[in-house]
Every structure is written in C-alpha cells, then in structure tokens.
C-alpha cells in the first residue's frame, strides 16, 4: 500500500466531523509513540495537533465523526477524492455516534428545544456513518478506539496488509480479564454478549454493564439477550435504551430496538 518513492514519507491526515474529539485524542495520548509515528509518516493535516491542510493529497486519512450537515457531505466526498486509504475510526464515523439518537426523533423539534436561536442551525435530520456516503477502506470501531487498534492499523497499512481485527464478544475479554460477570453475579443488564471486543472489558471490570461502545459483534443473538433482560425485570423501554446507546444506529442494534418497540406495541393494545 505504501506507494511513496523511497525516502519520501507516507502522508497522513486526521479529519474531524461531528464528534467529541475523543478519537483524535487516541493519537495525542500516544506520547512518545506519536513522535516515533511522526518520524515515519508526514502529518499533513491534523488540526488538533497543529498542521492544517485539509485539501492536501494524502496516502492515508483517519476520519473521526459522523456526517450531520450538508457541508459534512461535501467535505467527506472531497476528502475521499484526495486520500489513498481511508480509515473511519470511532463510533461516530462507523455508526453515527451517540448523536445518531436524532435518527429516532424529530430532529427539527430537538433543535428548537435545545437552541436559543434555532434559525442559525443548519443540520441534516440524521447523523450517519462515513460508509453511508463514501467507500471506506477500513473501519475501526470503538468509543474511542484504543491506541493499539490505531497503531495496528497504521503498521498493517505500512506493510500493505489489513490489521487483525476481532469481532469476538466483550464477554471473551471480560473472562480473560478475570472480571466477575455483572449480569450473572448482580443481575445487571450488560451488552457484552452482543458487543465486539476492543475496550478490554473496561466497564464490567469496574462492576458496570457494557454500553456497546464497540458496536455489534458477529454471530449475534439479540432476541435471546432481550428475553433474558425481560426476565430480570427490565421493561421494554429499558431494553430499548440498552440498544440505543453509543452504537444506536448500527443496523443490528437499530433493528433490535425497533423489534422490541414493535413487539411491545403489539402486546400493549
């Protein structure tokens, strides 16, 4: 993949869309490793770290954030046209982020409720992932993704391969960490059995249920988990909320929540 002539460093950009900047911090928090990285690649555009050249040609671009405005749409198409390899990283860029909750609401109504002067707000009714609009070469899920994933992706790209990514469930890592299962030992709802690993089972290690920051795992059985949650005494609205978290608009979670709402409506009336 590294097509640059010998002696010339690959050019890297980090772009921000609708997001909290947390994914970019994954780069900034690398400390000395970031200096090593800066030796190996040329940081062409990374506004949060200094260099600004959003329209420059680059070999690899990391995209943080989701598409929420017309302007975002133009920008991402523009970026696609002058970037070799595009990595969408983080829950916003891969699934629309927490702000995609607007996809299930009346966005205009929210805008008028939240802003003093709604007429200044010009945003789309939805928050959508990059893959809805452009061809994405690699997705790194997570809120935020961890540094090993980001470095692993860059290393693999430099080798001309794709990084090894696991879609195993958080439960696998939870047990590797010797965390005690909060679902079994405390009856706490946990999304670990339907969420892909990457976080190191952070929340269960601290006695909390998983929030699905890393999005859906493979081989999902959301129906069974919902049924068990119901048995724990959760109401349909509570179960819906489990799926409408950080990765709410990932198709599998969006459908699971819709399913619960539909089933509940069928029962209720």
């Amino acid at each position: 993949m590294d097509t640059s002539p010998p002696g010339i460093k690959p050019r890297l950009a980090v772009h921000k869309f609708a997001s909290c900047d947390g994914c970019q911090l994954t780069f900034l928090n690398m400390g000395e490793t970031l200096l090593q990285l800066a030796d190996m690649v040329e940081l062409v555009h990374f506004a949060e770290a200094g260099p600004v050249a959003p329209d420059a040609d680059v070999d690899i671009a990391f995209i943080e954030g989701s598409v929420t405005t017309e302007h975002d749409l133009e920008r991402i198409r523009q970026i696609r046209s002058h970037s070799g390899f595009i990595v969408a990283f983080g829950a916003c860029a891969t699934a629309g982020g927490i702000q995609a909750l607007r996809n299930f609401a009346d966005a205009a109504e929210w805008v008028s409720a939240v802003y003093a002067s709604p007429e200044y707000i010009d945003s789309l009714a939805t928050s959508t992932p990059m893959s809805d609009h452009i061809t994405v070469d690699l997705e790194i899920w997570g809120c935020p993704p961890n540094r090993d994933q980001v470095l692993g992706a860059i290393r693999a790209w430099l080798y001309g391969t794709l990084p090894a990514q696991s879609q195993d469930k958080v439960c696998m890592e939870c047990k590797r960490q010797q965390a005690v299962c909060v679902l079994v030992a405390r009856g706490m709802p946990c999304m670990g059995p339907v969420t892909q690993t990457g976080c190191g089972a952070l929340c269960p290690s601290f006695g909390r249920g998983c929030y699905s920051c890393y999005g859906p795992a493979e081989a999902l059985n959301t129906d069974s988990l919902c049924g068990w949650f119901e048995g724990l005494g959760l109401l349909p609205a509570d179960i819906t909320r489990q799926f409408r978290h950080v990765s709410n608009s990932a198709p599998q979670f969006r459908d699971a929540a819709a399913n619960i709402i539909a089933t509940d409506a069928g029962h209720g009336h």
Partner: protein, 375 residues
Amino acid sequence: MDDGLSQQPRYFLPRQSFQSLIDQLTLQGFGCVGPVVRDAAIVFDQLRSVSELPQGTRDRQEPGYYRLENSESPRWFSWANGPQALKPYLFPSREVLWEGSVDEDGSLSFKERITEPQPLAVLGVRACDLAALAIHDAHFLNGPSPDAHYARRREQLFLVAVHCSHPASTCFCVSTGDGPAPTCGYDMALAELDEGFIIDAGSERGKRILDQLPLVEVSAEQLDQAGRELDAAQKAQTRELPDGPLNRILFQNLDHPRWDDVAERCLACGNCTSVCPTCFCASENDVPSLDGLTSEHSREWSSCFTEGHSFISGQAIRPDIRTRYRQWLTHKLGSWIDQYGRSGCVGCGRCIAWCPVGIDLTEEVGAICKDASHD
C-alpha cells in the same frame, strides 16, 4: 467401605492454628493464593491472612445466576466454587510466547519468552479442579511436544485441596465421578468442620509442610462428622449427565432438532468455555511494533464460539450459533473421550451458572439423549 476420605494418616488442625499453614507455605517460598470475596463472587486472590477468607459465605448458584449470602458459620470453605478454577494460573488468559526481531544486518532472530514463575500454593482447590488439572496435564504435558510455559508453572504448584460439604445446585461431580472428595493429585487435603480441619498429606512435599504444623489427634467423632457431611454433599446433587457412550450418541445425532432449539437461546458469547476448567483453546497472534523491527507472538484464550475458531481458507466453517454450540457439546462430552480417554466435563457446573442466559448443558445433552437412537 471407602468413605471417600483419604487413606493417608489424618490429623486435626484447629481453626485458630490455620494461619500457621499460610505462614509455613510463605516461609517455604510459596506465594499463597486462596478464596476471597471480590466483586460479588468468590475468586482466587493473594492470601496473607485467614482474615481474608470468606467466613460464613455461602454461594447460591442456578443457571445464569450466582449470588453470595452471609451466615453465622465460622467456616471458610462452605461454598462450592467461583468463576475461576486453576486454569488462569497454569494457562493464563494471555501470554507472550516468543518474540522476533530484525537484526542490524537484516536477518531475523527469534527468542522464546520463558519466565521463571514463583512457586505458588493454592488453598481451597476442589475435587473437580483437580480432575480438570489432570486433564490439562494430559493435554499440555503428555503430548509429543509438551508446553514449556505450562510445565514451568505446573512444577511450582502446591495444591491444598478442600472437601466439598456445600455443593451448589449446579454441581454434578458425583455423576462425572470427579467429586466431591479430592482423592488424588493434591499435596494436602482438608475437610472442614466448625472447629477446624481434618488434614492429610498427599505428597512428600505436603508431608514436609504438615510436619511443621501444630496438629492434634483427630477424633473418631470428627471423622464421622466429616463422613456424614460428604455423604450429604453427594446426595444433595440433583443434576447429572446421561449414561451411555456420549461420543457415539452425540455424533449420531448431529441433526437433532435440539441443536436448533439451543441456538435460539445461545449468545455464542464463549463464557461457558472460558469458565470451563478443561477448555484449552487459544488463538495466537503476532503484534509488530510500530517500526516493524520487533514482533511479539502471543496466545490468548479463545473459544469454539468465536468465528476465528473455525476460520479456514477465508471462511468460518461453523458460521452460525447452532454449529458452534454443537462443537462445544460434541467436543466436551463426545470426541474428548476419544482424545483423552474420558469426558471433558468434571461436573463443576460453572458453564451453567456463568452462562448469561442460563443454558444448562446437562439439560441439553439430556434432551438429545432422551430420544436419541444410537448403536
């Protein structure tokens, strides 16, 4: 008649002297690990003082359910088990096996990453844990290429077993023939009574430690009491595995409708295989450094419930939950017999309690065997 208790000379260690066992082991250079309450469960952790032991703690276990309860009992071992067995100590969930590097002249070199483990004494090991350990020994040590990492840790291990007097509802070691009394494979075994422990040594090392303890004679009444408790523990178990050649039955019923039924409930989360003390599957990965000059080769716990477990030539040959659950059960209770001469299940019940949706393998295999035809 065999009362299930060891035939070694037995002594009595009064409760107030139990600290001397921890002290002796520490003095002999062992790091001590024992049961402690952490995060609403009984887990093995570093043990320095008897005050850290779970006094009066009981565990209530059901499919998908584990809760601790307190009682007035002075006992430290009146519970069945927690989510871990010995597995994490001998077969860590993640470890670097070797590393590779590009040398100055461009050539490659490889170095094994072997660490010298500290001698470890584990207090509170159950009969099912010992049976599982024997299975792991067969897997990791007795093959054509023994696992050096496992072997080092195994050599350093000192095991203080405890008789089970309070099995959980999920336990079925009587049915698998692995408990509730430890019969071999330990350095020292304890049967707990309110006032202290009936104790015996199972090895020369165990005997040497035993000789240092302030032991008193064990009374006939105490032996009777322990025998009665063991008997009650056996009778309290309600779950069991079906009789019959499970390897044949399971493999002749690969299309049984029960596999579809369980696939509707199973999450393919791998919790069962992770808590199972005999499961040994791991994946191996290489993690290169950013500059690409060094690389670490590590292994971590995996499971037949993952996609990677059956990923061959660009696709997973067990793509769905049905075939993955079937792999777990047919290996654990079936082909394991052909591989290791016995079933891979020691009846600890962990996979039942720690399954987030309460799937009970005894029920699943029971349903398949009930109306199964086989020759």
